[in-house]
Symmetry: C2
Subunit: 388 residues, 2 copies
């Protein structure tokens, strides 16, 4: 039987999501000579609207260069299809004669695949290939895209800490992350020594109190003369809402198709600056919003991340032959293994920082977090100890 693969990309772009695309295309052509391979533009939206690009004969050299290019080459979408939308997507898939649909993305993308799989009659294999800088997929030890983004964050904080040894003060870097603190915790992956920043981590998993925050900063300033803070965009207040929701007047809040409040590093940043000005007057404080900078930076693509993303794409083709499911990166004895798991195990679920990852008070890496980053992101920077 002749095979037709439809491939699409969903959610936020990463540094290596195109590696997964390249891996899938190259593997599909290797396994299924003469296979038809269509890329859908802007995720399921492209399937619904009939916008495809034919990848069947794209030269491998071009595919390899595409893989090495950050962001989603096919375009992405934040659409979360309802039943009617799904019907149109299924119709679009059938019109192409698709035998498999590989959708590269996060837990929302896996959710879409589960809905489509349940609605279809079993004639199409639905495969979810993992991707997210948030590193928040269940069943996965880590996700393609995370290591590169984590390396950006680790490098930035190691560098900013050196900067603030030279000219002391308070620095707060606000890092993407709505529900999971992995990327923010990565700020501490390459701490230089025991006195190194970031001195304080604030992640969405733990309630954030502006009052306690100022006291913790004050205590670090007293000890080290400077204080470097890594804070997740999604830090939540004691009432369980995001701090941003507590800070910003309701009429100014924006919501996405999933009903999530749009997190703005800017709003949080201004509130943090104000809290520091009020609580620690006269101390130089600077807040930067990292925002999109870590998530697909062409200057910082981690080689392991790139290879794993490619391999996950290739494995997705094998997964299609097995009837579909979610591709997962798991850890076994310190080595990453790629396995197939049920879509339901991943779809719509969020993995959080595990116990033992952070210290008891929640603001430093504990042994678990340190071991995790030592394995995933061995230190690459070789730096001299400054005189100050």
């Amino acid at each position: 039987m002749s095979e037709t693969f439809v491939i699409a990309q969903g959610g936020g772009p990463t540094a290596v999501i195109n590696q997964t695309l390249a891996g899938a295309v190259i593997e599909a052509r290797k396994r299924h000579r003469g296979a038809r391979i269509l890329g859908a533009l802007h995720g399921v939206r492209g399937i619904r609207d009939g916008n495809f690009v034919d990848l069947s004969d794209l030269p491998e050299e071009q595919l390899r260069l595409l893989g090495a290019t950050p962001s989603a080459a096919l375009g992405s979408t934040r659409d979360k299809p309802d039943a009617a939308y799904c019907e149109k997507v299924l119709k679009g898939l059938r019109q192409t004669g698709a035998t498999a649909f590989i959708y590269i993305g996060g837990n929302d993308t896996a959710g879409t695949q589960q809905i489509l799989n349940d609605a279809a009659g079993g004639d199409i294999a639905f495969v979810h290939a993992p991707k997210t800088i948030d590193n928040d997929l269940e069943e996965n030890d880590h996700t393609p895209g995370f290591i590169s983004a984590a390396e950006f964050v680790a490098t930035a904080f190691a560098s900013v800490d050196l900067d603030f040894r030279a000219l002391p003060g308070i620095y707060v870097g606000i890092v993407m992350g709505r529900h999971a603190g992995f990327l923010t915790a990565a700020a501490a992956a390459w701490q230089f020594d025991d006195e190194s920043g970031p001195h304080l981590l604030y992640v969405p998993e733990l309630a954030f109190s502006p009052k306690r925050f100022v006291e913790e900063v004050r205590s670090v300033i007293d000890r080290h003369g400077r204080c470097i803070v890594a804070m997740s965009e999604g830090v939540t207040a004691e009432d369980g809402r995001s701090v941003v929701e507590n800070l910003v007047p309701r009429e100014r809040l924006e919501f996405d198709a999933h009903g999530n409040v749009r997190l703005s590093g800017g709003d949080l940043g201004m509130a943090v600056e104000q809290a520091l000005r009020d609580g620690l007057p006269g101390v130089r404080a600077r807040v930067d919003t990292f925002g999109y900078l870590p998530r697909g930076n062409a200057g910082m693509i981690n080689a392991t991340d790139a290879q794993e993303a490619f391999d996950a794409g290739a494995f997705a083709v094998e997964a299609a032959a097995q009837g579909g499911g979610s591709v997962a990166l798991q850890e076994e004895g310190g080595v990453t293994r790629i396995r197939l798991v049920p879509l339901a195990n991943v779809a719509g679920k969020t993995r959080h920082l595990p116990p033992g990852f952070l210290s008891a008070e929640g603001t430093r890496l504990a042994a678990g977090g340190k071991a995790y980053f030592d394995r995933l992101l061995p230190r690459r920077l070789k730096l001299a100890k400054p005189f100050v």
Copy 2:
């Protein structure tokens, strides 16, 4: 006569200011066997207070590693000495028996050297070695630290442009730069093709109108479906004051020792977000403040920049033998030459974007700007053209 060199670092750290320190120490030891070399901690403040570290016998291997480490290893300062402060610095220098004082920094640092030189009796050679990511020193084609910071900015904007091809919207990246737009203009150095972002540049040299800004963004959105903007922290309003000063209530403004208003990317960013929400409602807009990220990033140190910074430090030792002055990186037939110029030519002066650097409306690189970056920062990224 036995030589004693005092070396210090001033102003904002960079990725390569320690290369200049290493170059000076290694050259001083080569030229003057047995020379005493003292590093002053936190600039002139260390000289005033007698805080020195002895670099005379630091192994060259350690010096080389120090050179490859970003930020100012000796610590820095924003102190601008008045006559009384200068008297104490001169006294501190004489107590060490200094025959030369090499001060690595920007135009304020050159200004300090000029004051000290005028106050001293000619027994000490005062040398200014250039450093600034702002690239705003007179007599210099470019300054050590700029190329690395520019490469960070160019890489980030090339990457963000790819990101916004996948998920369209408006992106504004706010980049350091109080008076000169060089670093912001670097955002356009690695534009991918004619449709690439950044589509709009806003620099301090040209008056910024929020109303015109929104119209220019709207026009780009109409053409390309997305709009990427690079904006200097120091953009000025039509009245000549910084936009931040116009936006922020007077009682919240902070000023430094030089009477300059403290620029906050956050304040500007929030105002820009609000202007976009009001003027282009319903269009996804995101503002990130780059802040400190470009200026000393250990993951992005440009090799040419590092070598030139080292050479500038070595040349400062030669400059001391000639009686002092300011070390300048000049261009001759496409090649960088290091020369000695009078302190007065650099001290306290600001170099701005030259005519022909930006397009007539001021929001794109013109031929002059393109040629400048093609020479200083040849494109290193090899990227595939996305399908969207």
